[in-house]
Every structure is written in C-alpha cells, then in structure tokens.
C-alpha cells in the first residue's frame, strides 16, 4: 500500500481522521489527540483512548481487488 493512497476517512460526526496503518492497526487523530487502535476498535496506545469501532472495522477491512476475489464476482468494478 503506498503512503499517498493510505485508506483514510474523516468521521462524519467528530471529524476525527481514521487512517489504516501498514500493520493493519488504525491511527485516529482527533484534534490534538491521537491513538492507535486494533481492527475492532480496541485501544493499543496513545492519549486518545476511544474510537468508533465501526469506522475501525471499515477502514481496516480492505478486500482484495475485484480480479482476485474468490467468487466470480466483481461488484467493485461498478463502484
């Protein structure tokens, strides 16, 4: 995964930034605070102790490209 295209999204309510790290953890930056979280939202480190678990689930769930999906199915081609 390239640094420039690191999956990242801002939370629609808090505006905190959720960013997938290369080891599968999620870095969350909320104002001046940040924290590192597991895929299910469990805290690992940092002064920010809480994150939205569903946004951690979302950003850490990066499926293979459509051509590599095991089913003969490539919805992503139309997304």
């Amino acid at each position: 995964m390239s640094e420039e295209l690191k999956p990242a999204i801002k939370h629609p309510f808090t505006r905190a930034l959720y960013e997938l790290q290369s080891d599968g953890t999620v870095r969350v930056v909320d104002g001046d605070n940040e924290g590192l979280f597991k895929r299910d939202g469990r805290w690992i480190s940092g002064e920010l102790r809480e994150a939205d678990p569903q946004l951690c689930v979302w950003i850490s769930n990066q499926p293979p490209p459509p051509e590599e999906l095991e089913s003969a199915w490539a919805l992503s081609k139309e997304q």
Binding site: E4, L5, K6, P7, A8, I9, K10, H11, P12, F13, L17, E19, D40, D52, P53, Q54, L55, V57, W58, I59, N61, Q62, P63, P64, P66, L69, E70, S71, A72, W73, A74, L75, S76, E78, Q79
Partner: protein
C-alpha cells in the same frame, strides 16, 4: 394481542427533518415510475417486542411448527436446476427437501427421505437420473414414482402405486423457486401478490445469478435479518456512508405480505449538521480516501444524476436500452423489499437478494445468504455456485466493497445476541416509522406463531 395496524397520512405524519423521498423524486432527470410514487406508511403499535423471540429454544420450536413447516419460502433459482435430474437440497430448521427438475421440465419437491427406512435420499446438489437410496436401494423416478425395490419378494405389503414420494407444493416467481412444506397450504398467488405487483417493472426472471455467498452467523436468524431491514442503524454502524445516504429520511412502506425501505443515495443524512457539496457526497459514495481527488461533476449536474448516468452506461452492455427507461432513483437508490418471512429482493439493478433462516435447530445461529442478480445479454450465463464463507472469513473476501458493509453489520450480530441474553429488559423497543418494517415482520410472525 398485537395492536391493529393503522394507515398513516404520508403528508401529515411525523417524520425526519430534511427532504422527503417523494420530494427527492421530484428532482429526478427521468420519469419516475408509479411504483416509486406509492406510499404506504403504517403505524403498527409501539409495544416492545419480547426478547424471548430471539433467545429461547421454545420460541424457535414454535417457529418451526407454526411458521417454517407452513409458510411459502424461497428454495432456489430456476436456473440452479436447468436440466432434467438437476436437484438442490433445501434445508430449513433441521428439515430437508429435494427440489428437482423432472424429465418433463416441471419442478417438483419431495421430503428428502427414503420411504423405506428414512435415510436422506440426497446429501448434495447435483444431477441424477433417479432417486435411489444409498442404504438399501429403494428407488424412485424423478417424478416420484417407486420404480425399484431390491428383493421385492420381501415387500408384498409395499404397493408401488401407494409408495410414491410425497409431493410438496412448489411455485415460481421471478425466476425463484418457492416451496411450502404444508401440503394443504394457502395458494401461492395470495402469498406473492403484494410483491409481484411491485416488481412488474423489475423482472428478476430476466436476471441471472452472478454470485451466491453464504455464511453461518452467530445470532438468531431474526437478528441477522433485522440488521438489513431499516436504515436507522446507518449512523452508528456505517458512519462512512452517512455523507452520501439519506438514512433517517428513508421511505418505509408496509403492505400485507411485503414491505420495503427505500433509502436514497447521494443525498446527505439529516443527522449531519453541516453542509455537504455534491462532490463530498460522491467522495463518500465512492469511498475515495481523504487527500485523494474526487471526480469533477459536469456543470449543472448533481451527484445523483451524475452517478445515475454512470450506472446507466455501466449496465448498458448487459441491460441494453432498458437503462434509459430507468430513472435516477432506480439507478442509485436502495430499494430493499422484504417478502415475509425471510426473502429480500432489491428492486431495479440493485442486484442484492438476501435470505435468512435458522441454522438447523440452533436458535442462536443463522444462515445468511446474499445472491447477486445481474442483467445479461445473449445466452444466459451459468448461475454462480454457492460459496460458503468460513467462520473467520469476512464477507469482503467474496463480495468486495459490498462485503465490507456487511462485515459492519456482522460485527454487531453476536453482540446483539449476547446483549439480549444479558439484558434485564424484557423487550426491544422499536422506532415507530423508521423501524416499521422490523415491527411488521414481528406482527406477521405473531400472527403465524402465536395466532395473534
């Protein structure tokens, strides 16, 4: 007793702030079909739904006896059994059926049990020239007639004319095969009429099964099903799409045996207290990472029209010029229908079709399936075989982007089951409008299971 259902006046009912779905349809660039102009909001009471429906084996057992053994239910696609002898095994709550194509081309269904000693006749889907039991060799034709009894001298008491396989009622609609375990069931036409009238424009028989994915989910089948029956959950479960989905201003319509939730895409959620640009909505819809550029929209074109135009072109090769007849709403919105008790086809080109059922007789686990229906041109492509996901496999491994969304719903399911097992509160509380499809399902369930 369940409260009586009351019609609501769509023009004067309590509803979310923000644009209504009907107002959104007024902005469509194409003619909006009548089916989308229908409104059937209902008030189904506001009493809590008892948690025993999700947590007790007693309720499951009642569901088996009073619902699953009596109700019409989708078993497979017609295209799954195209040739004589093609058969699928359909199981519901520990009961197994064979659904097959006969030599004459009709579809029949039999209990999956030998009439001699009761062994299951077919363990797997496949193609067979006859139905021969692997235990002692009793054999039936595809039409269910007894044709061979090894050492039949020892069975003078078996009269072939009285030893045919019992026929289970079958019916087809939209390319789907339905069965009813009750040989004295009500007519299928009465069961399907509400849904069929809604789908006259969206002929699912002309689609093919592009994908079929299944997984055992660690929750009661209704917990799994209800995760897909309202859009209220989007704000907490799918926050990433809130900028492009009109979640709480979805339109919910309830008829007797079907209901729908229409959730508009590319209109911002009324729950957000800030303005979004059309490009913001496109970014959210396309899951474009922060910092990466979003596409520029043509001058004067909003996000809905732009995305709909793209979807038309994406579908044109397979769907032909039919795409020009479909309005923007049909191309981009989420037209989520439910036929009682567990069948969920989506309208237009949304492709999704869910089915939820108990996992055998374990009331704490369910089989969730997603069938993807797609248009095609020329010869019908072969239907996708079912792919079963392992316990630790995400839906995204099979369904990509869409599977990512399911994985968020799946993340909740075991926690809902555990919460309901732990709560001191005897019932779950539902929203009056947004969750009225969930309440309708329970209303119908009450009628079937408790005779309400």
């Amino acid at each position: 007793m369940a409260e009586a259902i009351k019609d609501l006046d769509p023009d004067n009912m309590v509803r979310s702030p923000g644009i209504t779905y009907q107002e959104l349809l007024d902005t469509d660039t194409h003619q909006v079909p009548e089916v989308l102009r229908l409104q059937s909001p209902k008030f189904l009471g506001d009493a809590d739904v008892s948690i025993e429906r999700y947590t007790t084996k007693e309720w499951h057992d009642k569901e088996v006896e009073r619902l699953w053994k009596r109700v019409w239910q989708m078993a497979c696609r017609e295209e799954d059994i195209p040739e004589a002898g093609d058969h699928i095994r359909y199981d519901i709550a520990g009961i197994s059926f064979i659904v097959l194509r006969t030599e004459g081309g009709t579809i029949k269904c039999y209990p999956n049990a030998c009439l001699h000693r009761g062994r299951m006749l077919k363990e797997f889907d496949g193609r067979a020239s006859e139905l021969r039991c692997a235990f002692h060799g009793f054999c039936w034709s595809l039409d269910g007639d007894l044709v061979d009894v090894p050492a039949n001298w020892d069975f003078p008491h078996v009269n072939a004319s009285e030893f045919g396989l019992p026929e289970i009622p079958t019916a087809t609609w939209g390319g789907f095969v339905f069965i009813n375990p009750d040989q004295n069931c009500d007519p299928f036409d009465d069961f399907i009429k509400d849904l069929a009238s809604q789908f006259e424009r969206w002929d699912l028989s002309k689609m093919y099964k592009q994908a079929h994915v299944a997984k055992i989910m660690p929750a009661n089948w209704k917990i799994a099903q209800e995760a897909f029956c309202e859009a209220y959950h989007v704000n907490a479960t799918h926050p990433q799409i809130l900028r492009s989905l009109g979640c709480v201003n979805s339109q919910v319509d309830v008829w007797e045996n079907c209901a729908r939730v229409i959730t508009p895409s590319l209109t911002a959620s009324p729950l957000l207290d800030y303005e979004l640009t059309e490009q913001d909505m496109v970014r959210a819809m396309m899951d474009i990472p922060e910092g990466a550029p979003a596409p520029d929209l043509p001058e004067g074109m909003n996000a809905r029209a732009w995305m709909a135009a793209g979807s038309r072109e994406g579908n044109r090769a397979d769907a032909g010029d039919l795409v020009d007849e479909y309005c923007d709403a049909e191309m981009v919105d989420n037209l989520d229908y439910t036929l009682f008790p567990n069948f969920h086809p989506w309208g237009a080109f949304n492709k999704i079709c869910y089915r939820f059922r108990p996992n055998g007789n374990d009331h704490r686990s369910a089989i969730m399936e997603c069938i993807m229906m797609a248009p095609f041109s020329g010869e019908r492509p072969p239907p996708a075989e079912i792919r079963w996901l392992e316990e630790d496999e995400p839906w995204s491994a099979a369904l990509g982007f869409l599977g990512r969304v399911f994985d968020q719903d799946a993340f909740n399911m075991p926690k809902v089951q555990q919460g309901l097992e732990s709560t001191y509160k005897p019932g779950v509380t539902l929203a009056n409008y947004q969750e009225s499809k969930v309440r309708w399902l329970h209303h119908r369930l009450g009628e079937w299971v408790e005779g309400e």
